[in-house]
C-alpha cells in the first residue's frame, strides 16, 4: 500500500481550513500531478500547529500568517529550525513584498495570496512534486 502523505492546515477560521482541504482534494487527482494519498491535520492556533507538527511530522504545511496567538512568519522560523526539509507554504490575505521576502528568507517553499483558487493550489502542488523528486534524487546520490 502506498504511503500516506500528511498535510497540516493552519488557519484560525474553520471554514477556510475546510475550503483549503476541499481544494487540495479536488486538485490532487489532476493527471499532471504525481498521484498520492493524502491525510489532513488541522490547527487553528500557533500552539496547536507546533504540537501537531512535532507529533505527526507532516510532509506539507499550509501556514496562515495571521494567527490568534502569534505571527505565522515566526512560527515558520521555528518549524524550519526543527525540520529544514519540510515543505511549508505561507498563506496571507496581504501580499506585500516584505511578507513575501520574509517568507522566502525564512525558508517557505511558496506563498499563496488569499482568496484561494484551484490555480494557486495546483501551482503549489506542482512545486511540491518537484521538491519531492529533488529530495529523492539527493538521497540516491548520498
Amino acid at each position: 500500500m502506498p504511503r500516506e502523505w500528511k498535510i497540516l492546515l493552519v488557519d484560525d477560521q474553520d471554514y477556510t481550513r475546510q475550503l483549503l482541504r476541499n481544494l487540495l482534494m479536488s486538485v490532487a487527482p489532476e493527471p499532471k500531478l504525481v498521484q498520492r494519498r493524502y491525510s489532513f491535520l488541522q490547527a487553528s492556533t500557533a500552539a496547536q500547529a507546533t504540537y501537531a507538527f512535532n507529533l505527526y511530522r507532516p510532509d506539507l504545511v499550509f501556514l496562515d500568517i495571521d494567527l490568534p496567538d502569534g505571527n505565522g512568519l515566526e512560527l515558520l522560523h521555528q518549524l524550519k529550525e526543527h525540520r529544514k526539509d519540510c515543505f511549508i507554504v505561507m498563506v496571507s490575505g496581504v501580499s506585500t513584498l516584505d511578507n513575501v521576502k520574509s517568507a522566502i528568507s525564512e525558508g517557505a517553499a511558496s506563498f499563496i495570496v488569499k482568496p484561494f483558487n484551484g490555480d494557486k493550489i495546483f501551482a503549489v502542488m506542482q512545486l511540491f512534486d518537484k521538491f519531492i523528486e529533488e529530495q529523492s534524487l539527493a538521497k540516491k546520490m548520498l
Binding site: 475546510q18 475550503l19 496581504v94 513575501v100 517553499a109 495570496v113
Partner: protein, 207 residues
C-alpha cells in the same frame, strides 16, 4: 463563452506602458499596469493574469529578479521579459525585444493558452461560510458601536481574504478597498455602509 486574456504589464516608462496598454486593449485583452517589479510580484501572485510582461530594467526589483522570485514560489503562468537585448533564461517563457512590437507579443501569447483549474464550493461549505459571515456582520456592528478600530480592521481583513474564495468577490473587493483607504487615513464608520450592504445581500441571497 471565452474570457478575455488578462495581461499584467510591469513597465516604469509611463508612455511606453500606456502605448502597450492601448494596443492590447484594442485587441480585446484586459490589461493592468504596474510601474515596478515589486508590485509585479505581489500582483502576479493573485493569479488573475494569464500573462505577465516584465520590463527588464525597473527600479527596485528588475524584471529578471521579479521572475526569479515568482518562479521560486512555484508561479506557473506565462512570464515574458521586455528587453533591449536578447535574454535567454529558464525563468522566462520568452524574451521580447524592444522596441515593443505588438505582433511579437501576440505570437507568443498565442502559444500560451492557460489551463484554468476551476473548482466549485460545496453547498455544505458555502453554508458554513454564510454562518460565519452572519457572525462577522454582528461583530462588525458591535465593534462600530464600541468604536473598536482594531476589531473592525481584523474583520475587514478576514473578509478580504475569505469572501472571494466562497464566490462573494464583491465583499472581498470592498474590504480590499477599505484596507487600502485605511492605510493612510483613520477609519470612518460611514465607509463601512457599502460593505455592510454587500454582506446583507450575500446573507439574504443564501436564505
Amino acid at each position: 463563452m471565452t474570457t478575455a486574456l488578462q495581461i499584467l504589464i510591469a513597465e516604469d516608462d509611463v508612455l511606453l506602458a500606456q502605448l502597450m496598454m492601448l494596443q492590447l486593449q484594442q485587441q480585446g485583452f484586459q490589461v493592468e499596469w504596474v510601474a515596478d517589479g515589486e508590485r509585479a510580484v505581489t500582483e502576479a501572485l493573485s493569479y488573475r493574469y494569464d500573462v505577465v510582461l516584465l520590463d527588464w530594467q525597473m527600479p527596485g526589483l528588475d524584471g529578471l529578479q521579479a521572475a526569479a522570485m515568482l518562479r521560486q514560489l512555484g508561479y506557473s503562468r506565462c512570464l515574458l521579459l521586455l528587453s533591449a537585448d536578447k535574454v535567454e533564461s529558464p525563468l522566462l517563457d520568452a524574451c521580447l525585444l524592444k522596441p515593443f512590437v505588438l505582433s511579437d507579443l501576440l505570437a507568443v501569447i498565442g502559444e500560451h493558452r492557460v489551463q484554468h483549474h476551476s473548482y466549485s464550493v460545496s453547498a455544505e461549505l458555502k453554508q458554513q461560510f454564510i454562518a460565519a459571515l452572519a457572525g462577522l456582520q454582528r461583530q462588525l456592528q458591535q465593534a462600530c458601536l464600541a468604536g473598536d478600530e482594531a476589531t473592525i480592521r481584523t474583520i475587514v481583513h478576514q473578509l478580504k481574504g475569505s469572501a472571494a474564495s466562497f464566490g462573494a468577490a464583491a465583499i472581498s473587493a470592498e474590504a480590499d478597498r477599505l484596507q487600502l483607504c485605511w492605510q493612510h487615513q483613520p477609519i470612518q464608520q460611514s465607509q463601512l455602509l457599502l460593505l455592510s450592504d454587500l454582506i446583507d445581500l450575500e446573507l439574504n441571497s443564501a436564505t
